[in-house]
């Protein structure tokens, strides 16, 4: 009998191995006791407002929220922006004055004057002064933060000739006009001089005080291993009241499961589960604008065959992007603009050329030749599935793809260093100022690719401060880009987010951004 028990143990062991295997796959942190209130309880909490309003969102490590330490992707930079304010903020409609009460651009477009707000305090209690603003600009020009700092025209040509303070005014003088400069100057994070002035190497400055800003939230807890954050409202904040008292990020394995059990307060959903939430007053569904997208990058240096424009065009014709949208995005995406600017952007040129799925045309363009390329992807499920379909699509026209999957941080650095032939990359920010076309296409942004006309148009649109004229140049630029296919946009996602309005109903979008949890204004009283 004892023997039998031993032998029954084996299959049970095998089963439990399987089970533990699935436990390995899902990152279940200790989210058990956090915020699992039922909706009824939480709505009460909201009405009385005695208890602080705690919003819990899906976490994951994005680096420490300091301008030099966060990860370069959206979830990293927006957390940093909760802590660090800038002169201007992105609102629902456009730029809004923030640390600068007011700003003024001289008629020749060369002098920018920002009136710095008074009575702003740092998280450590010190007063913020215009000195800090000047210091922030000088320091970060010398030591570029994670996202870089755009004070240049073209690639390296710094056009800021002078920065000075005069009373409460911060004055910037340029050598040339630039259409994107207001946004660029307005986005620079203001950092405290008394903390940073003696820091030689900001990338290695990891002391806790590097997280002191003057933004609406203070970082009070951060755990790199678990990817958890806790942000608490800054009591002495100068401006709009924080509606949300605490924002915390916890690791979840499945966003929808976690939302359903009340562990998190907002999650992205796919059309497959739309019905589940659509017909209930308990939930509210909002649509994300299509400013997040996937593209396929071409490296003309590592894969010289791509220098042939017909090969690039053939790839554009051969990939069935509608199929990718249907299957990988489950329909929650739109075709991209072939000129990179997404369809929902105000800068989108409706008449831009489109590459519809046409394998025959692709074959004609390739003229019977076959090619071999390596496609680098991150190991995320979407990209793996996309790669599978792209591989089949391209095999049909005679292009053989070897898929190489790496983890997403490795992929990002490979992309940055140009260590790829073809690469899949998905990121946000497609809806931003058309200045982004410059960093995407011009002056060697694409390895081994250079096009005089694109460079020229990119510079021209930046120099043109008249909106209508600039629009025209940007339209033309999109035509050239669509014609050249220096890289291939695949689709722009238009996902949905669901939340419980009884708990918190302040979610909103910035005018140029796809995510509702990213804008600072989502958590503040006035929008």
């Amino acid at each position: 009998m004892r023997n039998l028990g031993k032998k029954i143990l084996l299959p049970i062991l095998a089963l439990s191995m399987l089970l533990s295997l699935s436990a390995c796959g899902s990152k279940t942190g200790d989210t058990g006791d956090q915020e699992s209130k039922s909706p009824v309880e939480s709505s009460q909490a909201n009405n009385d407002r005695e208890e602080p309003l705690v919003i819990t969102l899906s976490g994951g490590d994005c680096g420490y929220p300091s301008p030099y330490l966060h990860y370069s992707r959206g979830p990293g930079s927006f957390k940093m922006r909760l802590v660090f304010d800038s002169l201007l903020e992105h609102g629902e409609e456009g730029l809004i004055p923030w640390l600068a009460e007011d700003y003024n651009i001289s008629e020749d477009g060369l002098t920018y004057t920002f009136k710095i707000r008074e009575g702003v305090k740092w998280h450590d209690g010190e007063e913020m002064s215009p000195e800090d603003v000047l210091f922030s600009f000088e320091y970060q020009t010398a030591n570029p933060p994670v996202g870089g700092i755009s004070t240049a025209l073209g690639k390296e040509n710094n056009i800021i000739t002078d920065m000075t303070i005069d009373g409460n005014n911060f004055i910037v003088t340029l050598s040339q006009k630039s259409a994107a400069m207001l946004n660029n100057l307005g986005s620079v994070r203001i950092i405290p001089k008394h903390i940073w002035e003696n820091v030689e190497n900001p990338k290695e400055f990891t002391d806790e005080v590097c997280g002191i800003g003057c933004g609406p939230y203070m970082i009070t807890e951060y755990n790199k291993e678990q990817g958890t954050y806790k942000f608490e409202a800054f009591k002495d904040y100068w401006g709009q009241n924080q509606e949300v008292d605490v924002i915390q990020f916890v690791p979840v394995s499945d966003g929808i499961l976690a939302f359903d059990s009340g562990e998190i307060d907002l999650t992205g959903i796919t059309p497959d589960v739309y019905e589940k939430y659509a017909h209930s007053d308990e939930y509210k569904i909002i649509n994300n604008p299509g400013f997040w997208g996937y593209k396929m990058g071409f490296n003309l240096e590592k894969a010289p065959a791509l220098q042939d424009i017909n090969v690039r065009k053939a790839i554009a014709y051969a990939i069935n992007r509608t199929d990718l949208i249907d299957k990988v995005a489950r329909g929650a995406a739109i075709l991209p603009g072939e000129g990179y600017i997404p369809q929902q952007s105000v800068w989108y040129n409706k008449n831009v050329k489109a590459y519809e799925f046409d394998p025959e045309k692709a074959k004609d363009l390739l003229d019977g030749k076959t090619y071999d390329f390596k496609l680098t992807i991150s190991s995320s499920n979407d990209e793996v599935r996309m790669a599978e379909l792209i591989k089949l699509n391209l095999a049909d026209v005679g292009i053989n793809i070897t898929v190489e999957s790496v983890d997403s941080k490795t992929r990002d650095s490979m992309y940055k260093n140009g260590e790829y032939q073809l690469i899949l990359n998905g990121y946000g920010g497609w809806g931003g100022d058309p200045e982004l076309l410059l960093s995407q296409y011009a002056y060697g942004a694409i390895p081994g690719y250079s096009n005089e006309q694109i460079n020229k148009l990119c510079d021209e649109q930046l120099l043109e401060t008249d909106q209508a004229k600039r629009m025209k140049i940007v339209y033309e630029l999109q035509n050239v880009i669509a014609d050249e296919v220096p890289q291939l946009p695949l689709y722009n996602t238009t996902g949905m987010s669901v939340y419980r309005p009884a708990k918190y109903d302040g979610w909103t979008y910035m005018f140029d951004h796809h995510e509702t949890t990213h804008p600072k204004i989502s958590y503040l009283a006035e929008k």
Partner: protein
């Protein structure tokens, strides 16, 4: 063949069913692609078709037939299971024989190494090695073998230590028999049944490990393996709130569980039949 029939007759009901099950998996693995009407790599229908007569197990998110993918996965699982077990079984036995026969420093050294390998949890290390050597069947087999040779080696070693004091071995030695003669004439026949049982278990370990590695996304991302189908199904957003899991998640899970269970039952019966204790 006669031995096998004897084994079959002596097996319990569960053992017999298990053998049929494994035979079926073998059949599917070898003839699977001819057996299924659709390709395991090319979409053949729209996404998420529920199981029907056209698609026995339905289709996945890309519209690829799941039955075809399970067949393809059986091929991969069995290949990895059997080859990793063969490699570690053969290498392990020979290492064990040498250790047991000669003893001394080499024996001590190898046994301490195997102590270390047994003590270290293998999955995390396999993950590291999987990342280091990259995806690919050969690499997975190699990595699995590195962690699995210790079992057969210990069994072989202890058997040889007791065998080398037996009279017939001593007599053979006194006539001048070397290690090769002794190994093939006297040691292997004695060791074989014991190593056989451990081999069957290693097959199981190989299958489970391959599934875990590809489940964690460390295999070739476009290959079709049971672990990878599970991986895709589980990472599908909101899978539990749709009907898709009923075929997309359950079929690879059932395939892994049934195969592993069947092999375990066979190992149990083999142990009894060959009268060995591990």
């Amino acid at each position: 063949m006669k031995n096998f029939l004897l084994f079959y007759k002596s097996s319990s009901i569960s053992g017999k069913i298990s053998m049929l099950m494994i035979a079926l998996v073998f059949f599917v693995a070898v003839f699977g692609t001819a057996f299924s009407r659709h390709s395991a790599f090319v979409p053949s229908d729209s996404a998420f078709v529920p199981p029907n007569t056209e698609h026995l197990l339905g289709t996945d998110d890309l519209g690829i037939d799941l039955w075809a993918q399970i067949c393809e996965g059986a091929k991969l699982s069995l290949t990895i299971g059997i080859f990793s077990a063969l490699l570690s079984g053969i290498a392990g036995s020979f290492i064990g024989i040498i250790c047991g026969y000669y003893g001394g420093f080499f024996d001590k050294f190898v046994m301490r190494v195997s102590d270390i390998l047994i003590a270290i949890p293998s999955l995390p290390l396999m993950i590291v090695m999987g990342v280091f050597f990259g995806a690919g069947i050969q690499n997975i087999i190699f990595v699995l073998a590195v962690f699995s040779w210790t079992g057969p080696a210990r069994i072989a070693r202890s058997k040889v230590i007791s065998l080398k004091t037996e009279k017939h071995v001593l007599v053979a030695e006194s006539y001048g028999a070397g290690i090769f003669y002794l190994t093939f004439r006297h040691f292997l026949p004695e060791i074989f049944p014991v190593v056989m049982v451990s081999f069957i278990r290693l097959v199981n370990r190989g299958i489970v490990s391959e599934a875990s590695l590809s489940f964690l996304g460390l295999g070739d991302p476009t290959a079709k393996s049971w672990g990878l189908i599970l991986n895709h199904a589980i990472s599908f957003k909101g899978i539990y709130f749709t009907d898709f899991w009923k075929w997309w998640l359950v079929s690879p899970f059932a395939a892994i569980t049934l195969t592993v269970l069947a092999i375990s039952f066979i190992a149990r019966d083999a142990e009894k039949f060959l009268d060995v204790k591990l």
